[in-house]
Amino acid sequence: MKYSLSILFVVVIFAATATAKVDLVTLPSRDTVQLTIYNSADLTLVRESRALTLKEGTNSLQFSWENTLIDPTSLEMLPKADADKIEIAELTYPPRVRNLGLWNIDSGVSGKVPVEITYLTSGLGWRAFYMGTLSEDEETMRLQGYVRVTNNSGEDYENAQTRLIVGRVHILDEIAELARRQYPYGRPGEIVPRAEGVERAGLARAKVVAERMVSDLAATPKEIRKEGLSEYFLYTIEGTETIPTGWSKRLISFDVDEVPVVNLYKYEEHRYGSSVVRFLSFKNDQKHKLGDTPIPGGQLRVYRTVEDSGHLSYVGQSGFKYIPVGEDVELNIGPVADVVVEPRLMEFRTENYRFDNDGDISGWDEVRAFEVEVKNTREIPVKIEIRRDFDTSYWTLQKSGDYGEFEKVDAQTVKFVLGLKTRSTKKFGYVLRTYHGVRQEDWTKASR
């Protein structure tokens, strides 16, 4: 095991002559360690407690971090007892020595003092991912959420209380870059390159390392306690974890069976072309057996139970964005062929021409009659949402047939929502009139 963080307690005894200096060094071990790992950036807050033996007067404490990815500017030490008698006012980064800091401590007490050392490091990360298993009728889904914690920090954190932060944190510099600097705060006049796209870098960072479950001998999987803090969610993993450097670990975050889901299909030429795209839709709320906390973004793989013996069929996968409590979730699981939407242009004509003083065309209408056929070839009922974008805000629409719910989305877009039973077809039509040139003025007058 590589233990690269060391703390040296240096009692400096000055002999009669100023030059004869004797250093007495002790190595207090880490008593506890807590990791708070972020996933929107390559960032972990480490908090460790150690017990120092101080003497009354001035004490020097040396902290070094060779081969780690610690940001030296983030180092802080606080006494956890006799705080009013112990002053830690100065941290020196000595010249011509790398990865070393010296704390000067004025102590009014002598003896053991518990201290807490905090710093930011990079190289640890986590991500969320999900497994969804649809029931045979596809009306409910078992949703299992996992987190995978990876340690590439260069440091083995043993028996660490592990906490994960869900949320998007604003940082200026990449911690890994700060850790690599020759001088913690750089040199005067040095232009420090500002990390761009730090948040994205965090996602791309985590290289996959050999996955192995380091099994604890517990009979049940560990629970993850979740709570909101500021704009973040804090996941605290029960007990402690040991994730040696280079390893990663998968933990279960939640497991909910029978989440009611809606099989939603969408047709929108501007976004998806002529394919129908399948979505699984539910809500992050109590009715759907969820809603305790937001669901962090990740990949979801969807399976479907195919027979009694529990065999599975793979349906598809979907990227999952962060879902606040109470929000609707729509999981895009890709284009399908078993639900078909076919809009057909049945008629096109132009009319109501206007001419200017030179006899040139100054305005006209375009009239398009569409027929839309919607087919559900599946064995289950489905919901279909069809969006039509007109590329202009000067339009009128006449509808006919079974067009279900109809809604204006914005100035240029409308939405039709239809429910289709098992193996059924619906047809509806609409006549779209768009206004061009000076005819737009007539449209405006009529609509006011």
Binding site: G167, Y232, T444
Partner: protein
């Protein structure tokens, strides 16, 4: 001390200045450096003041000041006579060719051990300021600490110097070449903060539905006022990097985010952007955009028109706590508001600011508010 600054209080016997500059013969005494001041009140340059005792003889004296391995602004070098200013006079300063040096010609009316103060601007020594703030769980106040970071890469070791900032007490500090020191210099226990969420329609996407699997984060900031009510307000707060943490209620903290602040004069606000909220969702859409009052020239060509526009913005708070969202909308050029269901302040000709109070979400779902803005832009030229 590895001093590279050499001062030669020279009873200059001879200057073999026969046109060859390098051939200067000097008989010298090396006066010890006495009190040294490092003055860091100017953020762009560091002034060093050092006192030395020169042995002056009656008559003309030449004093040679040279340096090696450090970067001194030659024109900034000044000499001030402290003990006998009326009797000791600096006559001239000359610069020997191809040397980092200068020679002072000093006239003295008697023999003196004269204390002088030499000041100059020295490069590659400066200071930074950083902040660390820990917010309470309710995010109503922070424990604010500020650190002074001294960086010395000047080439010169300062064994002991008085360090002066633009405020506060001077302090004694030694700092070697290539050394960095971080010193705590401000600590305020209970600084009130205001948490601010801001949606600027010119900066953020309008319709989150159209972003495939991406959340729109609403920027969240903390606002701190540099005034006595905030335990501050004694002096301007220097610009620097600020890291914010929050008490997690379990004896530990979480890191909230970091930002850089500019200098904050007394009475002014510091605003620190910490991260993005994804629990407040804004869906903004243009529901109407038409030309009205169209005016044409004799050829029937449009020369001027007004517009009739409608914008709706649905604001949903999915948080379990209330929040006040600052919403910024922009309407360019000349315009009239026909109808607006929420109150706003006009920040300038084309910027409107709404303060929208959002209650916490309930069991039935998010707290929802809707802004409806119906306006006409006037006298638009095509």
């Amino acid at each position: 001390m590895r001093s590279k600054l050499i001062i030669l209080s020279a009873i200059l016997v001879l200057l073999a200045s026969v046109g060859i500059a390098s051939a200067r013969i000097k008989l010298v005494a090396l006066p010890e450096r006495a009190a040294t001041v490092i003055r860091l009140d100017n953020p762009t340059a560091t002034l060093i003041e050092e006192e030395r005792v020169l042995t002056l003889q009656k008559g003309l004296n030449k004093v040679d000041f040279s340096w090696k391995g450090v970067l001194i602004d030659v024109d900034s070098i000044r000499l001030r006579v402290l003990d006998h200013p009326d009797n000791v006079t600096l006559l001239s300063v000359s610069y020997p060719p191809n040397e980092a040096a200068l020679v002072w010609q000093i006239s003295s009316d008697s023999d003196y051990a004269e204390t002088v103060r030499i000041s100059y601007l020295l490069s590659n020594i400066d200071r930074l300021v950083t902040y660390k703030a820990i917010a309470d769980k309710a995010e109503s106040k922070v424990d604010l600490k500020s650190y002074l970071v001294l960086r010395n890469f000047s080439g010169e070791d300062f064994e002991r110097a008085r360090v002066l900032l633009d405020y506060g007490e001077a302090f004694e500090q030694g700092i070697d070449h290539e050394e960095t020191k971080q010193l705590l210099f401000l600590s305020a226990g209970e600084v009130p903060i205001t948490k601010v969420w801001t949606f600027d329609a010119a900066k953020l996407p309008w319709d989150p539905e159209r972003l495939e699997n991406r959340n729109v984060g609403i920027p969240v900031s903390y606002r701190i006022v540099n005034d006595p009510d905030s335990e501050l307000g004694k002096y301007a707060l220097w610009g620097g990097k600020a890291r914010l943490f929050q008490d997690d209620g379990h004896g530990s903290t979480i890191f909230l985010g970091e930002d850089v602040t500019a200098l904050v004069p007394v009475g002014e606000k510091m605003e620190l952007y910490i991260g993005d909220s994804r629990d407040i969702v804004v869906t903004q859409r243009k529901m109407k955009d038409a030309r009205i009052n169209i005016r044409k020239n004799d050829d029937g060509k449009i020369v001027l028109y007004d517009t009739d526009e409608e914008i709706t913005a649905k604001i949903e708070n999915f948080k379990d706590s209330a929040a006040v969202l600052t919403m910024i909308q922009h309407i360019p050029w000349q315009w009239d508001m026909a109808e607006c269901n929420l109150e706003y302040t006009k920040k300038n000709a084309d910027t409107l600011e709404f303060e929208i109070t959002l209650p916490a979400r309930t069991e039935s779902g998010p707290a929802v508010k809707e802004l409806k803005m119906h306006y006409n832009r006037r006298n638009v030229k095509p």
